[in-house]
Subunit: 96 residues, 10 copies
């Protein structure tokens, strides 16, 4: 099942830079694993923003919720979720 | 170059249904051609809405503008465009 | 899978009252069938508004989309959808 | 009398994690008691958010106000309340 | 039980003035009866607007919903409802 | 002259609880005096919020401004003011 | 007593131009009379908009309400009202 | 050239009160000088708010920008600027 | 004096296409003349929108107002104006 | 390829003034270099705001993203990006 997720990262101004870099490294590793597993299908940067737009392909809503809650940067994020489905004009059976 | 486009269709309540169906058929054909050409990479329906989220891959902004202006349903749409670029945590060189 | 849906009905001022009453009767019948099938779990009126809040229990996003698109009053509705999941503090395994 | 309540928890970034976990444990216990008593009828998590949607069944507005003000996490919450009533198309006399 | 209700009247520009005056006269009569019964406790005009702010004292949400739906001007109104309760600093047991 | 005022209290999370309780006690005393004088006609709590809706009856705008600026909790409040006048459908000469 | 009023005129696209010009002429005459009487102290155009910002000096809220309701263009206006008072840093006793 | 400026002062809750009073005194002196020079034509308080509405009469945009940037309270302000011009229904050649 | 202007064209759905094309042709001619005169310095299309962003260089606010009011497409536009001035980091004395 | 960028600088109130001045000096130097290279075509101040509007001319979205992320003041900015293209009524082949 497909979901569009937008993640907007708000870096607190008094954060310890080393600690934040370590959290970002964990986030990157976690995102790569989820992409390899096929759960996190697409990941793009929005130009000029510390913000991404992503497409997730999960078993159900609960799985998506658990994936998002485990994002190392989640405490600094504003997250928006929208459920997607196949578009009648799409030429793909399962748009990847 | 990648762009995310959201198209929200507002059907006027006094429109001639036959005419509108004809316009939708043209829209579907046009969308299929653009998908086959690789310009319109992804096309998903947002659940419960007469609205899609699309990813376009075009030469430049002008090409995207011309494609959107030629959409048969454009006069009934609210359109939002955001420029995308590769995300540093993406595992793809060119996320398709 | 659970979804919260809010449906806000905007009655056009120049609509034929008989035709609108007929559409409302169809809507009522359709809503009753979906409730009996268990797909449409809850349906409440928001006080002072021509608006409901509903909980749907469907196989997946596609099923919800098809149900909503077939609502006889859909052309007059503004619809908002949010995916739900079990709350860790809920005392129910499957909150009905 | 039924009310829909949405509770959005904003965790302050400089909070003591142990203290916050203790407050969450109190919140969970309080929520379970209110669910058992029938006052807090439904409790769902919104996917990807530290936010719930709840249905309360109380004697009157004052009882709801007192219940909400006593939530251990109330100081960290943004709360929205809407009064509900039976929907004419509901198949239940008292939708639970 | 107390509710604050704001009613904002939007007069359609192509309405028949005689018909609208007749509807307003019905509205006035209906509002006067509800005030005399004590259900509609207060009714004030907001300066410069075709909009009122009202306080209702009803048995429950359902009664308020039925009163509002029966307003002759309801089809032209945007309505906002908020449940009220006694304020701890009020000097009245039952603020009238 | 009548004004509707909405006061929304935002408690800072690092405030000294004793000091805040003292300020609230002063606020309560001040509100009671203004109610007894007839300046602060009505005071209701909005359900689920640390927010009130009030009706003031003052000589002029300046008097209202001075009353509000002297509220002990003013530094923690978001305040909205709207001027009211008699509604033509009110059954009271001077709605109290 | 002073009020700031912003009036935003929305010209309906199917209005009879002669009729609208006649209404505008009445509006102009009415505005000039109120300015001469001192009730309508200031009247400025906002650049690029069919919108003005005005300062009224009236006995009370009721007088302002009656003046605004009698504006010939009122049916086409969106109006916003804010009560003003003397600023402590103003060098005028009665800022005109 | 005329501009309407709205200045909304947000007092930080941890500011040193003596320092803030000193800044307010400087602001008052600066505002009085600009009023005497004719640059700051009008200055009113919005009722219930720590906010003013002002009319400036300056040579050009640059002069207004420099005046506003030099306001002692500028770091605590949210500022909105709108360019004004003579209204065709004004009875004044140069509305003061 | 420089102003940024954003013009958003909303084409009414029941407009006569020939008449609208004629108005667009007049708009184009008027825009070209103003560009040649140097008053309308820049004119760009926003991608995917029937909307432009423009920079005007005019004597004063009044001149800008008169230019905008005379736009043949003005009755179909939503217009936003912001006054600009030289940026201290600009490398141009007069940014063209 | 052209983009409009709006940058809104929010100075934190507890920042070290010397450090901030040093960052501003770096920003100015960086902005001047980008202007000389032709990448940052236009840079204007919005009157009364610590905010600019800029036009960038870059190879593609990725180049713009990298330029913006490297702005020394980026951590204090809210940034909005919109893709532009040539306007059919522009008299310039490549509007500079």
């Amino acid at each position: 099942m497909l979901f569009k997720v937008e993640m907007d990262v708000n870096v607190p101004q008094n954060i310890d830079p080393n600690e934040f870099e370590a959290t970002k490294a964990k986030e990157k590793k976690y995102a790569e694993e989820l992409q390899k597993s096929g759960k996190w299908r697409h990941l793009w940067r929005i130009v000029g923003q510390y913000k991404n737009i992503s497409i997730f392909d999960v078993e159900n809503s609960e799985e998506l919720h658990n994936i998002l809650m485990a994002l190392p940067l989640y405490p600094y994020m504003t997250v928006r979720v929208e459920a997607l489905c196949r578009h009648p004009s799409s030429i793909h059976e399962d748009d990847r």
